[in-house]
């Protein structure tokens, strides 16, 4: 059943992505100021949106775990955070390449780049912490606390740097009152967001299945040693 869901999601995702890539390259015209490179926005922005939402979802699952002590929520939190870290990496890399072409530098200590890097560091620390703890319940408990602290901190970092000047482009999506993109150009971004969201769901499901294998191995080992 689970495999069927995975397969369906993967197909839908692949279809949307292929169709979208066609739209992005063939139909959407080059942007006035930025030229061809601007197309990177169709992956950069969805990746970043997914990464940040993922960290938030990870925090919520961590809190639910702390209340219910149900290991399933710990698995979800771990899977979601790991996949969000991958998307954050994509966001940083695409952002860096975009910056190189537009601003001439591979990196700039600007608002969003810096806060994204800080988020990345915090949650890379979360994953490292998980690797460092062997006992599953202690691991779940401590990483849940780190997830909560990390997400709150990430939010503070965002807000704090927002008070400061920045050189990163301001919001252009119409939902954020940017109104900076022509209507035809905005749609592929949302389609890509959907496609990448499906991809992230698939990856999280795979990751969670691996977590349940690991838990089964753990309990079988304990059973074996108890004889």
């Amino acid at each position: 059943m689970r495999d069927k869901i995975l397969f369906t999601l993967a197909t839908v995702c692949a279809v949307i992505l292929t169709w979208n890539i066609h739209t992005i390259f063939a139909e959407v015209p080059d942007e006035l100021n930025q030229g061809a490179i601007f197309r990177i926005i169709y992956f950069h922005v969805p990746a970043n949106i997914l990464a940040l939402s993922g960290f938030g979802i990870g925090m919520i699952c961590s809190i639910i775990y702390l209340f219910t002590k149900n290991m399933r929520y710990d698995s979800i939190a771990e899977g979601v955070t790991e996949v969000s870290l991958v998307f954050a990496t994509i966001g940083l890399i695409t952002g860096s390449i975009w910056g190189r072409i537009i601003w001439g530098v591979w990196w700039a200590w600007d608002v969003r780049l810096t806060s994204f890097l800080v988020c990345w560091l915090i949650f890379a620390g979360y994953l490292m912490l998980r690797r460092a703890i062997e006992e599953p319940i202690q691991r779940a408990r401590l990483s849940a606390v780190v997830s909560v602290f990390g997400t709150v901190d990430a939010y503070i970092v965002w807000k704090s740097i927002e008070w400061y000047r920045n050189q990163h482009p301001g919001p252009v999506l119409s939902i954020r009152n940017g109104g900076g993109m022509a209507p035809g150009m905005e749609a592929p971004l949302y389609w890509n967001l959907l496609a990448l969201f499906l991809l992230s769901v698939i990856l999280v499901m795979v990751r969670m299945r691996q977590e349940s294998f690991a838990r089964e191995i753990d309990s079988l080992r304990r059973e074996a040693h108890s004889f």
Partner: protein, 226 residues
Amino acid sequence: MGFFHHVWTITHKDLRSELRTKEALNASLAFSMVILVLFSFAFDPSAEQIKEFSGGLLWMVYSFAGALALNRSFAREVHNDCLDALIASPIPPAALFLRKMFANFALLFAVELVSLPVFGLFYGVPWTGQIGWLLVVLVLGTWALSVIGTLFSALTINLRLRELMLPTLVYPMMIPALMACMTLTSDLLQGIPVTGENYTWIRLLVIFDVIFTALSIVFIDTVLIG
């Protein structure tokens, strides 16, 4: 009232035991001096340049020296099962956390107060100009470092790679507070008063301190006991 009595009694005990041996105090002080000297080899700045990054330099010294002291804060209790005894006692975990935090705060603040004139001496930076605001920034920044550091020290006690995990977790978390402290300190050492835009950094520091103190008190139970 009883809660704060607990906190005070044990902070007092912690500080007294630390003052007797002065291990952490001496180590942190020595370390901060060493870093100050090392940085002087790393850069050869002019008087103007040094004032611009004085804040950054100073707070890097404080964070590194701080990590040294913070590592020991809960780790010290692990020997002879002192930590288990403390947890089993009727003292609420929040009180335990606060007293550790106050003790760390006192230690770090002492180190900072000593390092500041030394820094001013080595780098020729006048630091007495806006001493009032400077002390406010030091207090707020040290509070932030103590809160985060103490909680994560409690979190990492039983880990194999404790000495590595603590800085890895603490420094990214501290970035907003450190950013605020560094900017404010640089500005204050250059003689720029705290107004308008600068004031937002003070607000940020206060918000940071309040939020993370509250979160730490809420979560210390989970971290220490489960």
